[in-house]
């Protein structure tokens, strides 16, 4: 029920409004539900609101794990 995509914060307009980017497509995003948003943060955007930050280290670790799994398989 909660379509949300990870987008990068590319602009901070004021303490509760910013612009988030996904591969060049940009939309205004409400930041009032996030603590201390920073430029360059990845946020999970649902209905035009950032509902959480993406923990990049964890995300990158997970991606690395998938790469490893994939490597063990080769081309399926």
């Amino acid at each position: 029920m909660c379509l949300a995509v990870p987008m990068k914060l590319v602009e901070l307009r004021d303490e509760s409004l910013g612009v988030a980017d996904l591969d060049g497509s940009r939309h205004e995003v409400d930041l009032s539900l996030i603590a201390e948003p920073r430029l360059g943060d990845y946020v999970i955007v649902h209905a035009g609101f950032a509902i959480e930050k993406l923990e990049r280290r964890e995300a990158d670790e997970r991606l690395a794990m998938f790469e490893e799994l994939a490597g063990a398989i080769g081309d399926p």
Partner: protein
């Protein structure tokens, strides 16, 4: 789109498929895994995840589709408001949901003014731009959506907008899980817990459903690899005889969730009993605007009663969302009930179980 594509890696999916096959075989017996959230239902359909699972692992769709569990009477009330000249602002998901007699789409055809919003912020903009009109936002959703929507009240206060109000039908996930576990007619061996509701309420919110007498609760993201990881986590627990809360979406979900979002919710809303279409009333499973904000409650402002409404007696959406029966069991499925002419909300909602089934797997592969 590294943080999207990386979670759709085909080779990793194959690796996980093999691991799950092994675990499924080791388990032997059937595992009924309820994926609560409509977004999981859609993703499972979209990627054909069922094809990748062993025969003894059964995915059951749960009631996590806020559109599906919204009563027909809510749509009737919205239409009644529109007929009085109110401008309705709504998410696109609500447009084709059947009320007792018609849908919002039908009503728009009759001249009612309905604005489709990607974000609730658009509704505030609309109200501020049309001070002579009343704007009512159709405030449905689970915890992920509730926090953004209730910011509308914040915005209305700050801008002193007197012409904006909310027709609320918010629902809470944990009470629904409790009700499902307590239903003797439903067999649930594990929950695949929602990704973004969990981001708001926190992993700890599922503790009551784990432990002795409970079931494994695995929180999983919506990308296909997330879902496969989630299923792997469930099978692993079932093999160990465990019933733990396992957060497999830790890149977004924190143990205590998002405190700011929860503060926002608590500030404006209080828990109330709520009626879930097809299920009935679940105690404390909804939210209503607190008394100081009653002026933003459209039902009170316009004295519009929100009743249950009437539904087609042959419609088994209630059983489908409880996971008791599948769309294929419904006499109306794909015959008189299709996405073009939906009888129940499960068929018309973007992530309704019947819609996902119809769209992705209607004919056995």
């Amino acid at each position: 789109m590294k943080y999207i594509d990386g979670f759709r890696n085909p080779a990793a999916a194959e690796a996980l498929r093999r691991q799950i096959a092994g675990l499924g075989e080791a388990l032997g017996r059937e595992a009924a895994v309820m994926e609560v959230c409509g977004s999981h239902t859609m993703a499972i359909g979209r990627y054909g995840i069922r094809d990748l699972l062993p025969a003894n692992v059964r995915l059951i769709s749960g009631p996590g589709c806020p559109v599906c569990v919204t009563e027909a009477g809510y749509i009737d009330a919205a239409i009644a408001l529109a007929r009085r000249g109110v401008i309705l602002a709504t998410f696109g998901d609500m447009m084709a949901v059947p009320g007792s007699a018609s849908s919002l789409s039908d009503c728009r055809g009759d001249g009612c003014r309905i604005e489709i919003c990607y974000s609730p912020a658009a509704a505030l903009k609309l109200a501020l731009g049309k001070p002579g009109n009343e704007v009512v936002f159709l405030a449905i959703g689970f915890e992920t959506t509730i926090a953004p929507v209730v910011s509308l009240v914040d915005g209305a206060l700050r801008h002193k907008a007197k012409n904006l109000s909310l027709l609320t039908a918010f629902k809470r996930i944990p009470p629904a899980l409790a009700a499902l576990l307590a239903d003797p007619e439903i067999r649930i061996d594990a929950f695949l817990c929602p990704a973004h509701v969990s981001a708001v309420i926190g992993a700890a919110a599922y503790e009551p459903f784990s432990g002795r007498g409970g079931v494994p609760c695995v929180i999983a993201g919506f990308e296909p690899l997330d879902i496969l990881l989630g299923i792997r986590g469930v099978l692993d627990q079932l093999l160990r005889g465990a019933a733990e809360v396992d957060n497999q979406y830790s890149r977004v979900v924190r143990p205590k969730g998002n405190p700011k979002a929860r503060e926002q919710i608590d500030r404006f809303l209080e828990p109330v009993d709520a009626a879930w279409r097809g299920i009935g009333t679940i105690p404390a499973s909804g939210y209503s605007l607190r008394e100081p904000y009653a002026v933003y409650d459209a039902a009170k402002k316009f004295a519009i009663p929100v009743e249950s409404g009437t539904t087609n007696p042959a419609c088994i959406c209630g059983d489908v969302i409880k996971g008791k029966r599948s769309p294929a069991d419904c006499a109306l499925f794909a015959e008189s009930c299709t996405p073009d002419h939906a009888i129940g909300p499960c068929m018309v909602s973007a992530e309704g179980t019947c819609a996902a089934y119809y769209k992705y797997s209607r004919v056995a592969s």
